[in-house]
Symmetry: C2
Subunit: 174 residues, 2 copies
DNA sequence: TCTTGCTGCTGAATTTCATTCTGTAAACAT
DNA sequence: ATGTTTACAGAATGAAATTCAGCAGCAAGA
């Protein structure tokens, strides 16, 4: 709750970097954020309040951005996934960007180094809806050209993981 | 979806498609899955147990795959994001695929229509680590060539949304 | 039309769990 | 050494999830 201010000594817990324990906690919560603090404590070797305290800090520090329900695209009719490269007339926060952000089909917008400026990840109900989106993209001021890759099937899809190296143990649910 | 079985009357709740209420619930939970059932009920116009019941069904049916903590890549040292196109010697579930799945830097693997077979979304600590990954990819049996796009900045990143059309109201937190 | 069975809801009751509080041990700097 | 801070455990509290009857609406069938 300290969202202050002018304190000089800046070694506050909010900004301390993550230790092994934090990464263990993240490792569990990335897989299942409904884990109770009792179980969470058991998994990482901490009492429930201690685990709670650390998780609270992880949330406040922004390491945990939010906890979200991950929903199956198929279940909500988003059958088609595609990546769209977009050539724009300018770089960075262009006029085109603002428009593209408004399209609900667009899940991600990245500025990339390479032969195109932006890369979009988009999901639509079907090819027809994708065509509609592409048409709108072409009509968007600042957009020069697009090139799209339709995804045939997805083999792996996992969110951001807490560790590159596997320095925390495998998940053994009792 | 009916990979069943011998029951004839297949209109069971588990497989019923989502109605407007379900989508409202998903809409809230996608944004914040820590929402209490009391608040959830208020938002969508349902009693807490009713909301609970529907959410439970959404989980069981697989519409909600899981609830996860979304973590900030920067916080865990994943500074660099890149998309890598990979040319493989075969299509579909190739030998290369199995190897690539094991690389922890790889977040997504898609099979795409276009001039390359697969598209990877990868996250590493820095360019050096990306180079290491690319080197490993080249050495992977079945991989012919790669082409990578390094992400300069990400402007939008939102998970799968429940609705294409905005048929459920804006979030007004009282 | 009147059952019978089913689905989805409400409101109350219960139980589990998150959260707070208090004290303590270790680490650190003075 | 000595005050100061940090992180933790264990108990106490509060709030929330979850369960448990009833009840209304609705469809299929007599």
């Amino acid at each position: 709750m300290d969202q202050n201010t002018d304190d000089v000594r800046r070694k506050r817990p909010l900004e301390r970097d993550l230790d092994a324990m934090d990464r263990k906690l993240l490792g569990v919560l990335v897989e299942d954020a409904t884990t109770s603090y009792v179980e969470l404590g058991e998994r990482v070797g901490l009492s429930p309040p201690a685990a709670h305290e650390r998780v609270k800090r992880l949330r406040r520090s922004g390491a945990i951005r939010r906890v979200a329900a991950l929903i199956d695209p198929e279940a909500v009719g988003k059958t088609l996934l595609a990546f769209v490269h977009v050539d724009t007339t300018g770089w960075g926060k262009t006029q085109a960007l603002l428009a593209i952000e408004e399209y609900p089909e667009v899940e991600e917008i990245h500025s990339v180094a390479g032969d195109t400026c932006m890369l979009l990840k988009v999901r639509t109900e079907n090819t027809h809806a994708l065509e509609g989106l592409l048409a709108r993209l072409y009509d968007t001021p600042g957009v020069k050209a697009t090139r799209s890759y339709v995804v045939l099937s997805t083999y792996l899809e996992r969110p951001v993981q807490p560790a590159t190296t596997s320095d925390w143990p495998a998940v053994v649910k009792d």
